[in-house]
């Protein structure tokens, strides 16, 4: 048996990169669940939209099938570069979130959870099918840039202890952590966040104080959607895109993340995402064929040992 080379530093750094994406996804899902007690199965579709909008903004893409192709459109996209995508994708996600809250979520706030699940799952299928039919079901190459902010990110950099590490992934870690920190501050340190936290426990009391919490709801939903779309862009910069990625790479990891972290908990989503990222990274670098199995086993174990999650209060959706 060949002794296994375990490189802890590399596992942690890769785990951090994967975990940052999980955390972004979990964060978006958990603030919507925690605030509105609304389970959004279309969260993966928002990731998908983020990835495809990123693709359109980032480069020109050649089509080989789909509705547009049948109308004679052979290339789509604006060739705007990654920075443009970095700006446009969260804005589009935010806008879609506002619309979704108003027209899909809000009518279902007082309905049973099963209805919420059905309507959002249906929406996810619709989004996936539209993308598949209009742009085509092809798998597209990832959209990682060569340079950003004047830095060449196509080559690995030499890091102390870790050794060579892809500089683009390093960039992803930095920007994802910045976005996570900003979101955390918005929830924990602003008046808006205070209203959201209060509303999580007793939204009528917030209204009785004279605060129009419905506006905060729209904002929370839009924020969660923007985070998912942003995660989609980041994900698409390191992995290929196809219409199926919404569920596998976003919806399921997002749910696993909040199960581990605790439903409705912001710090739980961050910690849970990072923890799962490191587990996946460790398994991928050692027994990669076991990675998925170990991931689900871990979450199952978590559900048995600590069903409320790392930071959960066990109160959401009671």
């Amino acid at each position: 048996m060949i002794p296994l080379q375990v490189d802890i530093a590399s596992i942690l750094l890769n785990g951090l990169q994967q975990g940052a994406i999980y955390a972004l996804l979990g964060l978006g899902l958990t603030i919507i669940l925690g605030t509105m007690e609304f389970l959004n199965l279309a969260h993966g579709a928002l990731y998908l939209v983020g990835a495809y909008v990123g693709l359109l903004v980032f480069r020109e893409t050649t089509l080989t099938n789909g509705l547009l192709y049948s109308f004679g459109v052979t290339t789509i996209g604006f060739d705007g570069g990654f920075l443009a995508a970095l700006v446009v994708v969260p804005i589009v996600g935010f806008g879609i979130g506002l619309l979704m809250e108003r027209f899909v979520a809000e009518p279902f706030y007082d309905r049973p959870e099963t209805d919420q699940l059905l309507v959002t799952f249906g929406l996810a299928l619709i989004v996936e099918e539209i993308i598949k039919n209009v742009i085509g079901g092809n798998t597209f190459q990832s959209i990682g840039p060569q340079t950003i902010f004047g830095f060449n990110v196509s080559q690995p950099v030499a890091l102390p202890v870790v050794g060579l590490f892809p500089s683009w992934r390093l960039f992803i870690i930095v920007i994802a952590l910045v976005i996570i920190a900003v979101t955390w501050l918005a929830i924990e340190r602003t008046d808006f966040g205070l209203v959201v936290q209060a509303g999580t426990r007793d939204s009528e009391m917030v209204r009785l104080l004279g605060i129009k919490i419905n506006r905060s709801y729209s904002l929370v939903f839009a924020l969660g959607a923007a985070l998912a779309a942003f995660a989609g862009l980041i994900g698409a910069s390191i992995q290929t895109l196809s219409p199926q990625i919404g569920t596998d790479r976003a919806l399921l990891p997002a749910f696993l993340t909040i199960v581990v972290g605790g439903a409705g908990s912001v710090r739980g989503a961050i910690a849970g995402g990072m923890l799962l990222g490191v587990i996946v990274s460790a398994m991928t670098q050692t027994y990669s064929q076991w990675a998925q199995i170990v991931l689900y086993l871990f979450v199952a174990l978590m559900l048995i040992v600590r069903p409320e999650g790392l930071f959960g209060s066990g109160e959401v959706g009671e």
Binding site: D191, L194, V195, Q197, A198, T200, R201, D202, E204, M205, V206, R207, L208, L209, G210, I211, K212, S313
Partner: protein
């Protein structure tokens, strides 16, 4: 709305305030025309006129008036044709047994749902606020301290209090500028009323004792621009010495001129500080009078309050 117009007309003549209202009405309606019209026409034409008169009268008389409201929880008819009013600057008690409709009355005034108010009018400072949202009622200066305190357990005492500042700041943002007779206290002033809260400032509200939570719930309301403070069973579940503290605080609030509508099952405690009382039973007002009158009315006390 249309159903209460005749009542308003009667009130207007009784109140003798029609003259005041004419000035208001002159801008939109020719006074000559109104005077020259015959009786029957006037009744119909001057509905708004009469309403304004009532409003003008109410300005002098009632800060809040609840007029013939019928409120429902789903299909259950909870309040039946209930009328009451609260005068500026008084402490008014609404008493009655558990389930009599006290909380429903407060929630109807506050615009909370449920209940659903299907008939009748709630008027506050001349305005028909029956269909106002909870948020809008609150920003008019009506604060409800609900049953069971309902402080936010996951926030610190300071954060709970800060939410009242947020409410004020945000309502300014959307351009609502209501002039308040009793602007909200600062956090420092609130801490003077309840020194205990200052000691607990950074503690999570969920870890406070019942009495402290009640203080926090009242303090939160005091920080709002409150002209009418509605307290729903503030003594419930509190130890006797804590009741004294809360009672002192309520008395001090009343001294500042803030109008208080106090809902209680504990009639004796409520009558200590109330000027006037209503007794409600099965959704109907069965007694109206001063606290003194209620004290001497043994029949009402025994039948409806059990004291």
């Amino acid at each position: 709305m249309s159903s209460d117009a005749p009542d308003s007309a009667t009130d207007a003549t009784d109140g003798g305030a029609a003259a005041d209202a004419t000035d208001d009405a002159a801008a939109t309606e020719s006074p000559d025309e109104a005077v020259g019209a015959d009786e029957a026409d006037r009744d119909a034409d001057t509905a708004t006129h009469a309403e304004r008169a009532t409003a003008a009268a109410a300005e002098g008389d009632h800060l809040l008036s609840v007029e013939d409201i019928d409120a429902y929880y789903a299909q259950s008819h909870i309040l039946r044709n209930l009328s009451m009013h609260v005068e500026e600057g008084e402490v008014c008690a609404l008493l009655g047994r558990n389930g009599a409709g006290k909380t429903t009355t407060l929630r109807s005034i506050a615009g909370a749902h449920p209940p659903e108010v299907r008939d009748g009018v709630v008027r506050y400072k001349n305005d028909d606020i029956t269909d106002y949202s909870t948020e809008d009622v609150s920003s008019l200066g009506i604060s409800l301290v609900p049953e069971e305190r309902r402080v936010f357990p996951n926030l610190s005492v300071g954060e709970n209090l800060h939410l009242s500042d947020v409410a004020r700041n945000w309502s300014n943002v959307v351009g609502r500028t209501v002039s308040m007779d009793h602007p909200g206290m600062s956090t420092e002033e609130v801490y003077e009323v309840f020194p205990r809260l200052e000691e607990r400032e950074s503690q999570k509200a969920g870890t406070l004792s019942g009495g402290e939570q009640q203080m926090l719930a009242i303090a939160r309301a005091l920080k709002q621009d409150t002209d009418l403070l509605m307290l729903d069973e503030p003594y419930e579940g509190l130890a006797p010495q804590i009741i004294d503290t809360v009672e002192d605080a309520i008395a001090r609030i009343a001294e500042t001129g803030t109008t208080i509508l106090l809902v209680e099952q504990n009639a004796v405690a409520a009558m200590n500080i109330a000027d006037r009382a209503y007794v409600v039973d099965q959704g109907e007002i069965v007694f109206t009078g001063t606290s003194e009158e209620l004290r001497t009315d043994e029949e009402t006390r025994e039948q409806y309050l059990g004291v």
